[in-house]
Symmetry: C2
Subunit: 127 residues, 2 copies
């Protein structure tokens, strides 16, 4: 969550992207967006926390809803302004499985990642 601009010394992070087909993929951007929609109850608010335009956030949600059999995000029409959004059960399942995938993969790849890290010019400390 914290914005670290000087992260040259940070340990390598893994970014995982699942490619379904031509131009259709699920990666850290969409997953972060899902998580923030869950937390903020709004596509616009979720996008703002990622410095993402409203249009871009909507477009990513539409891509995800089109790619999956059940939509991952649905609008809520409860409030006076009625502009909210929330994850569906499918959205929660995809988010949870992706986060587990990240953890499992980081753990499984630890030793190979360690070899690559040890060869970097500035050896990052920690983890």
């Amino acid at each position: 969550m914290t914005q670290v601009t000087d992260d040259a010394q940070a340990p390598p992070r893994l970014r995982i992207r699942i490619v379904f087909g031509e131009d259709a993929m699920l990666g850290p951007g969409k997953i972060d967006l899902l998580e923030r929609i869950r937390d903020t109850g709004s596509i616009a608010a979720a996008g703002r926390t990622m410095a993402m335009s409203y249009k871009r956030a909507w477009s990513l949600v539409e891509e995800m809803n089109a790619a999956f059999r059940d939509p991952l995000v649905e609008s809520t029409r409860g409030g006076a302004r009625g502009g909210g959004a929330r994850l569906t059960e499918a959205g929660g399942t995809v988010l949870a499985n992706y986060r587990e995938l990240e953890e499992i993969m980081a753990e499984a790849g630890r030793s190979r990642l360690g070899v690559i890290r040890s060869m970097l010019r500035d050896i990052p400390e920690g983890k």
Copy 2:
């Protein structure tokens, strides 16, 4: 190696990217380039097989050589024209570890990836 343009039915593929720091990362593009430099003995020829400009291929090699303590690619001055390139020992080690990382992670993530795949609109067959 084969160019499949209609891969909507292909099983999801994983793309892994290792982020070292701001703007410094190692992903499928650089790794494919390393592999093709190894196979072709030339940065230009390797780039061509990826439809990548000479300038772009050189720029990626320079980024990699700057990020690692030992360069991953070195020029060879053997021939009459002397324009070849090859992987160093460090380059071979990074390439091998990254490919192993991909295999290990795909295997470790198989069940979570299967859950996500089963929720896609067009259920891909196979693997």
